[in-house]
Amino acid sequence: MIVVREISKSYGKVRAVRSVSFEVGTGRIAGLLGPNGAGKTTTIRMITGTLTPDAGSISVAGYDVGRAPTRARGQIGYLPESAPLYPELTPAGYLDHRGRLFGMPRAERRKAAERVIDRCALGPMRARRIGALSKGYRQRVGLAAALLHDPPVLVLDEPTNGLDPSQIRETRSLIRELAEDRTMLLCTHILPEVERTCDRVIVIGSGRVLADGTPAELTERSPGQQRYLIEARTNPSAGVEPVLATLRSLSGLHDVQPDDAQPDDAASGWSRVVVTANPDAPDLREPIAGAAADAGLFVRELTRERQTLESLFVRLVDQARERTDAETGS
């Protein structure tokens, strides 16, 4: 359980985090999402205790980070961005060192190290120098170190950064497994990662919480424009015009444009068209298909694209930036 209440932090005149509050419960994966410079890392550093907030309070697994810093830090497993490690040590040596820092007795350290080496599939690399390991393995050593003391709270900063696609998939499933009986805060700017792994999204921009909810809630709560993609065939000599004309005759549409990318078989009469509709418009697939059929167009694809987390994210961040600019009068 992580409880963050109204924390703020400034670096000189720059207000990096402004009165941020949120809670994350056990068994949940919360994604902290935001562009670079939004205050994500500062927020994470305040939770993990590297930085002290100027105002506000944080409690981790029941311990106040300000009043009982060492206790609170003992509850957190933290994987910093880019997993900094001592290059001269081996993974086994590093894990042993971390175990000592967490005050674990020798036998317990050994057992715990075996457990996390197994869990993060580090077996073949355990006796190599960390400096000689690939980025993917170093990331796993960092994750193994974060899991060593079996913490109830995990904070992972860009955990799939620099991994190849198959490693990313493995790491994601590991994260899902780990979250079952833990509280997990995942900091990232990779949107598909959030949509696939997180139960909950906290969007941060310009140091503020811009949105907080499940990915589905967020996209539904603030719907953007609807988009439809249509591929249809006309007389090859007529080109895309008849399709555009047919669709423009429909009501409730915002705009109809040929897509930037046309199909490879455009020469045989196929063309791709993008239709945008207002957020409150009903589902337009039926009217579109009907109009196309009436006009004798042969349709092979008709897709409705819902608002994605990405477009929501871009919109929220832009709004926050405008607001901040207006406040500072620049």
Partner: protein, 233 residues
């Protein structure tokens, strides 16, 4: 305390895994040699040692925290349940342990003197001298620990410590000869070479021991405050 030792052990281990540690140890052994034809005493050895350690101590201490800042490993360290005071003391004690191990081979000179002289050498100045040299080295390393909490550059940390030590030693030595007796009395109290000369004579004054030891403790404490202040920045 166990956590302090864990940090010290890693630091010591790191120094032996890096070429800089071996180079420094070699320089000390070669530089701190005995001169043939001189009286069978180590007094000269200890006085030279005071100056010898001026470049050596910063070379040991420069990476203590600077390297952690540069590589980012300070973050896992500061998020472990270890206080900043323990982190700094662990680092410092690791460096002191390295200093002790580095001075250990010079004990061979004691054996040489023993063999070369007809009479049993006077052990007082030797024991006193080593005690003094270690205490002085500890002050130097404490200065180095403090500067390494101030920068993420090992070069800056090295140069900063070197400049502070050279200035402190030179000023106290040069000024001593040029000021009136009142000021000289104060300067002698602050002068590291003056204390070292006493140790090398075999005069172990508790005041000297306390003065050097408390200078180290004070500097390491300031270093801990400096590290902690990073949490507020």
């Amino acid at each position: 305390m166990k956590r302090v030792l864990a940090i010290a052990a890693r630091e010591l281990d790191g120094l032996f895994r890096l070429p800089v540690g071996w180079i420094v140890a070699g320089v000390v052994f070669v530089g701190e040699t005995l001169t043939p034809g001189q009286p069978a005493t180590m007094r000269y050895f200890f006085v030279v040692g005071t100056w010898m350690l001026v470049p050596v101590a910063p070379a040991i201490s420069m990476r203590l925290l600077s390297e952690e800042f540069r590589s980012g490993t300070i973050e896992p360290l500061m998020t472990a349940p270890v206080g900043d005071v323990a982190v700094v003391w662990g680092k410092y004690l690791g460096a002191v342990a390295f200093l002790l191990l580095m001075l250990a081979p010079t004990l061979v000179f004691v054996v040489v003197i023993w063999g070369a002289s007809d009479r049993m050498p006077d052990l007082g100045p030797i024991v006193g001298g080593y005690l003094g040299l270690v205490l002085v080295g500890m002050v130097y390393l404490a200065v180095g620990t403090l500067t390494s909490t101030l920068t993420s550059s090992q070069t800056l940390s090295f140069l900063g410590t070197l400049i502070v030590l050279v200035l402190a030693l030179l000023l106290s030595e040069l000024a001593l000869a040029r000021v009136g007796p009142d000021l000289a009395a104060v300067l002698v109290e602050l002068s590291i070479p003056a204390r070292m000369r006493a140790f090398a004579k075999g005069v172990v004054d508790l005041r000297d021991v306390v003065a050097l030891a408390s200078a180290s403790v004070l500097l390491v404490t300031v270093a801990a405050v400096s590290l902690e202040s990073r949490r507020w920045r």
